[in-house]
């Protein structure tokens, strides 16, 4: 399958990744091979077959509405690359 530069750019943007020239060619090749492999699966007729979403038969796995605080604020912030005593800190951004 042919992968366009636009598609790579779009996927990179959605995944918040950056590829420079050589990397882009590389990822194009990889993606193309993956999609060719996936295309192989498309040869099977799946008309009328419900998609399998869950690997187990479990249904209604529910818990009671009870509070259980498992970690402290200090533990919560421990692995953050940037933080202060109360907050996670991230680069300034606006709007979704």
């Amino acid at each position: 399958m042919d992968i366009s530069n636009e598609l790579i750019d779009k996927l990179a943007d959605l995944a918040k990744l950056e590829f420079n020239g050589e990397e882009k060619e590389h990822i194009k090749n990889d993606l193309s091979r993956i999609l060719t492999f996936i295309d192989k699966l498309n040869e099977i007729d799946t008309n009328g077959v419900e998609p399998l979403i869950f690997m187990s038969d479990a249904v209604n796995v529910l818990r009671e509405d009870e509070v259980k605080q498992t970690i402290t604020k200090e533990e919560a912030l421990q692995n953050a690359p940037k933080k202060d005593s109360d907050y996670f800190r991230v680069p300034k951004f606006l709007d979704k």
Binding site: V67, D86, F88
Partner: protein, 485 residues
């Protein structure tokens, strides 16, 4: 330029997000209390740590079904969740768990009543369950955005209306009804200022009679129901004016500036967002059985509409009174408890609506924090009805005094204030005789036909009794005594 606004009609659909009043979050056991210190109500699941698994809160499902039943929705038997993928710092997992494909409730409606008495049904497309995001603070620091994940993962429902709404007033009434319902059901506190209830409005305009919709604009950031109405009214006017001038309406998101009363462009929508939905494999499917629905049905409180009907049909109250008394579930319950202690329905309604609600408004209190038990209000009403105190004295003196000494009975308070009316005829007769004896010339005038002089004698009786004479009894005695002279 002359613009005929009446040539156009607006088409409005509302999306309401309501935070569920569950004690813990939707998919993990973190607390959800409002106002906690930042990042103290978080855990590995809500922070999106690898290898963690969500487990669904049973109560949150119950709440969503409750709301669906109250809105006459169809409840979906088979539910699963989807991941809505987007990259944003307040969403640590990189996706929001949401019932994208199988909303738990579909169809249904909210009934509204407009100022002119028109009734209308606003259809619901769906009510689905999802989780809330964290909170970003952009203005606390010069360089960084600060994130508090306390809210991340809190159970939400989103109610999506059909584009059945035509005016800002309809939107106002719709949201008022939705909030009333959420509060009656005790599933959301409906506080738009604190953001536990949020509303986005999709607004477009078209020429009346046109089939096709105009380009829709999404308006956000309205922190009260009144502001939703203002934002919509502004947006309708803006769009009609733009179209009249031949300008194009862009599909965009606008924010409402409550100070200026205007909407401003927040971002433009170039093509649909790509959320790459796919089924959430970590949450097993949810099957809602008829038995589960029956259990929820049994726990349903009386809904505002049912109470309104009861108050008008059974208690014989006016629609206005019934409306005021059913606005709030706790006020309605208070009123009904007063009725357990007195048969005077009209007086009970008036006392709750005027004195009780007046006091609560003045003090900015909720009725659940009101010190006077409903039985005490019934005691006051009984004192008035038995002629022991006048209604003026009751509301001006007895009621305020009772609030200060709420363990005492109304009779004890009235005695202590020395305001019990003299309705004992023997006692009163003495006072009446004395009053009449003071004005022999006026008695003569009365006898010659000037019956309006009764007022003068009544005044004297009230003065002599220090205001404690029961006016009804006294006036009867005065007339009788004068006529027998």
């Amino acid at each position: 330029m002359n613009i005929d606004y009446h040539l156009y009609e607006a088409v409005i659909g509302l999306e309401v997000h309501a935070q569920m009043l569950t004690k813990s979050k939707a998919f993990c056991a973190d607390a959800t209390e409002y106002g906690a210190l930042p990042n103290t109500q978080v855990g590995p699941v809500s922070l999106g740590h690898p290898g963690t698994l969500p487990v669904h809160n049973k109560e949150a499902v119950k709440y969503a079904v409750k709301l669906g039943l109250a809105c006459q929705c169809d409840i979906a038997a088979h539910n699963y969740y989807a991941r809505k993928n987007y990259f944003y710092a307040d969403l640590p997992k990189g996706y929001q768990i949401s019932q994208h494909t199988t909303p738990i409730c579909e169809n249904g409606f909210i009934g509204i009543k407009l100022k002119d008495g028109t009734e209308k049904r606003i259809g619901l497309i769906r009510i689905h369950m999802e989780e809330d995001t964290g909170k970003s603070m952009h203005d606390q620091d010069v360089y960084d955005t600060l994130i508090d994940y306390n809210r991340a993962g809190t159970a939400l429902v989103e109610m999506v209306s059909h584009p059945d709404i035509r005016t800002g007033e309809e939107a106002y009434q719709y949201l008022t009804e939705v909030r009333k319902l959420l509060r009656y059901l005790d599933i959301c506190d409906g506080n738009m200022e604190e953001g536990s209830m949020r509303c986005d409005a999709n607004v477009s305009v078209r020429l009346k009679g046109a089939e096709a919709f105009g380009t829709k604009v999404e308006v956000k950031n309205m922190n009260s129901i009144r502001n939703v109405q203002r934002a919509i009214d502004y947006e309708i006017k803006r769009q009609i004016e733009a179209i009249s001038k031949g300008e194009k309406i862009y599909q965009e998101t606008r924010t409402f500036d409550a100070m200026k009363g205007e909407t401003l462009v927040m971002r433009t929508k170039e093509g649909a967002s790509d959320y790459r939905y796919f089924p959430e494999p970590d949450l097993p499917p949810l099957h809602i059985t008829p038995e589960f629905i029956d259990v929820v049905k049994e726990q349903m409180p009386a809904l505002p509409k049912e109470l309104f009907h009861k108050f008008t049909a059974v208690y014989g109250l006016s629609e206005y009174d019934a409306g005021v008394l059913t606005e709030n579930k706790d006020v309605a319950a208070y009123f009904e408890t007063v009725l357990k202690h007195t048969g005077n329905i009209k007086a009970a309604a008036n006392w709750v609506m005027v004195q009780v609600k007046g006091y609560l408004n003045e003090q900015a209190l909720e009725i659940k924090d009101f010190v006077l038990q409903p039985a005490k209000i019934a005691e006051i009403i009984d004192l008035i009805d038995s002629g022991k105190i006048s209604s003026t004295v009751a509301s001006k003196e007895v009621f305020p005094a009772m609030i200060h000494e709420h363990h005492k009975s109304a009779l004890e308070i009235a005695e202590a204030l020395n305001v019990l009316q003299e309705s004992n005829s023997d006692e009163l007769q003495k006072i009446v005789d004395e009053a009449i004896a003071r004005f022999p010339d006026k008695v003569a005038e009365y006898k010659s036909g000037k019956t309006s002089l009764v007022g003068l004698f009544m005044g004297e009786v009230m003065k002599l009794s220090k205001g404690k004479a029961d006016p009804k009894v006294a006036s009867k005695l005065v007339k009788e005594t004068l006529d027998n002279k």
